[in-house]
């Protein structure tokens, strides 16, 4: 019972915070809501008893990514005059319809499906099990991920690096 109450609190919280991310008028507020939303998802992982992922979520998303976002916001802070920028494009009303459409389709898919092998309650996924599979079976994805990070790193550096005369 307690789990369910906690789940609903966090679920509604995640939805509210996510809505804050996409509806807020200020970029900074959005970023802060994003941190909250990501942290909420981390808690969901805890409830699902996948603690390892929750930790990753807090560290990488709650920490690294949002810091990166805030950094970028500071670097691209547009108008020193403080002119209130419109954050939404004129497409927004249609975007709302499209968003509702996507939600409807996905909810139908999620809720009208009878999932095969549904155990009705989450099973604990121990960190040992994850690491075993990760390092024994998924060697190739691991290599790919490292190449991916290298590409992103090299790319980010050469794209963002300041040249002489800039």
């Amino acid at each position: 019972m307690a789990t369910e109450v906690i789940w609903w609190i966090f679920a509604l919280g995640i939805i509210a915070l996510s809505a804050g991310v996409v509806f807020s008028r200020s970029v900074i507020h959005s970023a802060i809501f994003l941190i909250g939303s990501l942290a909420g998802v981390g808690v969901m992982f805890v409830i699902l008893t996948v603690e390892f992922l929750a930790l990753t979520q807090f560290l990488i998303y709650g920490g690294a990514v949002t810091v990166l976002v805030l950094l970028a916001l500071m670097l691209t802070r547009a108008d020193p005059s403080g002119r209130a920028e419109k954050v939404n494009g004129p497409q927004a009303p249609f975007a709302l319809l499209a968003g509702i459409g996507v939600a409807a389709v996905l909810l139908v898919a999620a809720l009208s499906t009878e999932w095969a092998g549904n155990t009705e309650s989450p099973t604990n996924i121990a960190i040992e099990a994850i690491s075993q599979r990760l390092f024994e079976d998924f060697g190739l994805p691991f290599i790919l991920a490292s190449v991916l990070l290298l590409v992103a790193l090299v790319g980010a550096i050469i794209v963002a690096r300041q040249e002489e005369g800039e």
């Binding site: 898919a109 009878e114 999932w115 095969a116 998924f138 190739l140 790919l144 590409v151 794209v159």
Partner: protein, 499 residues
């Protein structure tokens, strides 16, 4: 088996990639075109190593990746494309300032290796990661002229839309994973073969999301809109790279995914590919008529080509291994013809643009007078795109359409033929500029850089060879297509170690 020896060719490619990046870093005064030649040399070594993997028994890496002739085919294709594009870039980048050339060539090689993994992946996570490695490399390469506003804008559009569509793709993967309980292709096929209808909604929606993701990658309408902008903004050799390697990689992924994992549930997606094919070829060809920029023209025309190719994917869904084999080998041979043609076109365009400095169609005015050889190569490539006899595009498109025709799809084949008729119109507009108009400036003959001349000549011969004697290309393609449909044994061996 964790057989890391299966990736030896890719080790070579990535090793050379690291080497050129390091060279740029530690020997900044080195002549930059040496990096290009080193890359080309690396591509040759990669190709040679790839040849050693042909005609071998399929070998699986932990059920995540399979090394068979299909994989080997795309490996050779990737090495070939990287070779040509690297040499093309050597000439092109001489006129560009502020480009990090080491990284440029390194990323070419990495992207090529990613394509091999996409072709060989037999598990969703591996396929997804390889796809992202390729995409990341392309995001950077498109924006590599960072002081050029258009290049920067193109890469911004590309990465934002790419991230959006890969999120859609991932949601689809998650639904399929939930429905099948596994991410291995063989496991998915097995799970879907006998599933009860309770899973239908999730599978239907999941597959459509996956379709949107891969459709974005190969630029099928309505997921194509990034392509013209990215093509226009990218440096010329990267436009060639995008329209060849990125498309081929997308089709490699689609082919293996849909012919092995989803084939047991073809009802869910066959119609969608037909619809996408019809929309894509029509949109691509009709909008192409209105283009004034060469790269955008190629973008829309290649969107049209994708439309034709999607017909073959739909034909995979008829549950008949023979039909699937014919459709796949037709698609592969057309990919080869299309790639050779595109590279020939871009070799010539690179040379022409380096002289005229204009990427508009009107910039080619009077090329037949100032540089008849380039005009000839461009004409031959455009004829090949349009599917005129004697050029590669005719033979390969004919095989592809024939392989893809089933009794229910005659209408779309007719539409495809009609579309290639429309396409001839805008190709002729380009040819008209070269042959019927006088050059803008003074009509002085100019010399073509020897490397580009050689590339164009060899690729032109390739176009004619495939056009007049398509046998070898087709046999090679059929050999590459076979493993997908003899999957009984291969899939079984993969299933044993399926995660």
């Amino acid at each position: 088996m964790r057989d890391y020896a299966l990736f030896i060719p890719e080790y070579i490619a990535c090793g050379v990639a690291l080497l050129v990046i390091a060279l740029e870093l530690f020997a900044p005064r080195l002549r930059k075109d040496l990096l290009a030649y080193l890359t080309a040399l690396g591509a040759v070594a990669w190709f040679a190593a790839g040849l050693a993997f042909l005609d071998r028994d399929p070998k699986s890496y932990q059920g995540l990746f399979i090394s068979d002739d299909f994989t080997a085919f795309f490996r050779l294709l990737a090495a070939g494309i990287v070779f040509v594009v690297a040499l093309m870039s050597a000439e092109f980048l001489k006129r560009q300032r502020g480009v990090d050339q080491g990284e440029f060539y390194g990323l070419l090689l990495v992207a090529g290796s990613a394509m091999t993994i996409m072709a060989g992946a037999t598990e969703l996570l591996t396929a997804y990661l390889a796809l992202e490695v390729l995409s990341f490399s392309l995001y950077v390469l498109v924006g590599i002229l960072k002081r050029d506003l258009r290049s920067n804008e193109a890469s911004l559009k590309y990465i934002l839309l790419g991230a959006f569509s890969s999120a859609l793709f991932l949601y689809g993967l998650s639904l399929v994973y939930g429905a099948a309980g596994t991410t291995s292709y063989a496991g998915i096929a097995e799970a879907f073969a006998g599933r009860d209808s309770g899973l239908d909604p999730a599978v239907a929606v999941g597959m459509m999301l996956i379709l949107a993701g891969v459709g974005f990658k190969v630029s099928a309408a309505p997921f194509h809109m990034w392509a013209p902008d990215a093509y226009e903004g990218a440096p010329l050799p990267i436009t060639a790279f995008l329209s060849t390697l990125s498309k081929a990689a997308g089709f490699a992924l689609i082919l293996r995914l849909f012919s092995t994992a989803f084939v047991t549930d073809a009802e869910s997606w066959r119609w969608a590919f037909l619809a996408l094919a019809a929309v894509t070829m029509t949109v691509g060809n009709l909008i192409a008529i209105q283009q004034k920029n060469l790269k955008r023209l190629v973008a829309y025309s290649s969107i049209g080509q994708v439309g034709y190719m999607l017909i073959s994917i739909a034909a995979l869904g008829y549950g008949d291994a023979q039909v699937g084999l014919n459709a796949t080998s037709g698609l592969l041979v057309h990919l080869v013809g299309y790639i050779v043609t595109t590279l020939a076109l871009f070799s010539a365009l690179t040379a022409a643009v380096s002289r005229t400095g204009s990427e508009e169609i009107a910039g080619l005015r009077g090329l037949a007078e100032t540089q008849p050889f380039l005009a000839l190569v461009i004409t031959a490539s455009l004829f090949s795109f349009a599917g005129l006899p004697f050029f590669a595009g005719f033979a390969t498109k004919l095989f592809m359409l024939q392989g893809a025709t089933t009794d229910e799809t005659i209408w779309i084949v007719a539409l495809a033929v009609l579309n290639s008729f429309i396409s001839l119109y805008y190709y002729l507009m380009v040819i008209r500029q070269m042959y019927l108009f006088d050059p803008l400036g003074e009509a002085v003959r100019f010399r073509v850089q020897p490397v580009l001349w050689g590339l164009a000549a060899i690729l032109l011969l390739g176009i004619l060879f495939i056009g007049m004697y398509p046998g070898p290309a087709f046999e090679f393609s059929e050999q590459a297509a076979k493993p997908l449909f003899e999957s009984a044994s291969a899939a079984a061996s993969a299933r044993v170690q399926a995660p």
